[in-house]
Amino acid sequence: MKPPRWAYWIMLPLAVALWAAIAALLETPLLPTPSAVLGALWQSLQSGELQQHLGVTLRRVLISFVLAMLLGALLGVWMGRSALANALFDPLLVLFLNLPALVTIILLYVWFGLVEAAAVLAVVINKVPNVAVTLREGARSLDPRLEQMAQVYAFSRWQRLADVWLPQLFPYLMAATRGGLALIWKIVLVVELLGRSDGIGFQLHMAFQVFDVASILAYSLAFIAVVQAIELALLQPLERRASRWRDVGAQHA
C-alpha cells in the first residue's frame, strides 16, 4: 500500500521546529538557531569559501570513487568468475573489509606523508573491498544460459561485456555506486580532517577548534544538499533509463 504524499513532509519540518524551539530557549552559541546556520551558510557562500572547499572535496570524492569502482569491479568480477582467483583473494578481502578506515588513513599518512596521493589511496583502499564483494555477487549470478548462447553465436569479447554482462551487472553496479558514494564522502571528510589543508573536512576541523557550531552545521547542510542533488540528477535517471526493459517484462507478465 502506498502511504499518502503528505507523510513525507512531516518529520523533517517537525525536527527543524524542535531544533529552533530548543535553540531559542537555550540561547547559546553551542546550539545556534536555524536562521543563524543559514546566515553562516550565506556568509561562506558570499566569501567563496564554501564553493572552493566543496569543489576540492568533490574532486577527491570523484577521483577516489572512479578508481575504487574500476578496481573493485575488475577484482569482483574476476573473483566471481574464477574459483582460483576467489580462493587467492578472499582472505585479503576479509582482512580489508574489517580494517577500520581510520587505520588505513593513519598508516598511509605515516608512510607517504600528508600528500594528496596518500589521501586518495586511503579512500580507495577502504572502498575497493565493498565494491568487489558486491560485483562478485553479480558475476556469480550471471545467467549461464546466456553465456552458452553467446558462445554458440560467437559473440565478440566486446559484445559479451557490453550486451550480455553489463546489463546483468547493472543492478550490482548501482548498488555499489550508492553504497560507494555514501561511504566515500564520509571517509574523504576524515582524510581531510587528519591531513589536508583544504576541503570540507579541513573546514570542519577549523570550526571545531573554535567551537563554531553554526559553520559546522552550515557545511554539513551544504554537503547533504550536494549529495542529494547527485542522487536526484544523476543516479536516479540513470537507473530508470537502464531498467526500462524490466518494467516492460513486469507489465506483460
Binding site: R145, L146, Q148, Q151, F155, Q159, W245, G249, A253
Partner: protein, 215 residues
C-alpha cells in the same frame, strides 16, 4: 559435416554416428537421458566432448534452445543484428517467421510462441549449415505447435542443404520433419537406433518400433 565418436563421457556412452548435408534427424529418447547434453556437445558447449565430436571447419551451427535466450534488454531486431544480420535480412527473416510487426518489441513483450519464432529467426540469421532444435514444440498449445511445425517444414524445404537435429518427445514430429531417426537410451546413454526414414515410415510405425524398444 559432423562426426561423433563419443566414449567415456559421464552421461553419454559409446556413440558412433555421422551427420551429412541435408540430414533431417529427429532425436528421440526418454527425458533426462542426455539428449540436450548431446545437442550441447554438437554445438561445442561441452568441454568433456572436445575431440570426440569432429565438426567440419567453419561449420555454422544455429541453435534454438528450449528457452528463447534472446537478450531481454534488446529488441528482437537488435537481437538478430547482434549475430551479424543486416537490416534487410532481419526484415526478411522476421517476415518468414511471421513476426514482421514485432521487430521493435522486447522479448518479454512476446508470447512464448512468438519468442520461440524470434529465436528461430536468429538461429537462421547466421545462415547455418546445421540447425539444432531442442524441443521446439514443448509447452505450445496444439494449434501453435502445428503452426510452428509447418513453419519449420517450409524453412527446411527452402534450405535443402542444411542439416537439422531436432530433439523431440513426439514420434509425429519425426514423421513431419525427419528423414532419419536417432534413438538415445540407457545409462550411460547410447544411440540405440540410427535409422533412415523412408516415405512409407509413418508415425504409427515409428511408435510401434519405439514400443518394441520399451519406450
Amino acid at each position: 559435416m559432423l562426426e561423433l565418436r563419443i566414449g567415456g563421457h559421464p552421461i553419454l556412452g559409446a556413440i558412433d554416428a555421422r551427420v551429412a548435408e541435408g540430414d533431417r534427424i529427429c532425436l528421440l529418447g526418454p527425458s533426462g537421458v542426455g539428449k540436450t547434453t548431446l545437442l550441447n556437445g554438437i554445438a561445442g558447449l561441452d568441454r568433456r566432448l572436445n575431440g570426440m565430436i569432429r565438426r567440419r571447419a567453419e561449420l555454422r551451427v544455429g541453435y534454438l534452445f528450449q528457452e528463447h535466450r534472446l537478450l531481454p534488454w534488446r529488441t528482437v531486431r537488435q537481437n538478430l543484428a547482434m549475430v551479424g544480420a543486416r537490416n534487410d535480412e532481419i526484415d526478411r527473416l522476421l517476415a518468414q517467421v511471421g513476426l514482421a510487426d514485432a521487430a521493435e518489441a522486447l522479448p518479454d513483450q512476446l508470447s512464448l510462441g512468438m519468442a520461440r519464432r524470434a529465436a528461430l529467426a536468429r538461429s537462421l540469421a547466421i545462415k547455418p549449415d546445421l540447425l539444432l532444435l531442442d524441443e521446439p514444440f514443448a509447452s505450445l498449445d496444439p494449434d501453435r505447435a502445428a503452426e510452428l511445425r509447418g513453419l519449420i517444414t517450409r524453412l527446411l524445404d527452402a534450405h535443402p542443404r542444411m542439416a537439422m537435429i531436432c530433439v523431440t518427445h513426439d514420434a509425429r514430429d519425426a514423421d513431419d520433419l525427419a528423414n532419419r531417426l536417432w534413438y538415445l537410451d540407457g545409462t550411460p546413454a547410447e544411440l540405440h537406433w540410427d535409422q533412415p526414414l523412408s516415405a512409407r515410415t509413418s508415425a504409427s510405425r515409428i511408435s510401434e518400433r519405439l514400443r518394441r524398444l520399451n519406450v
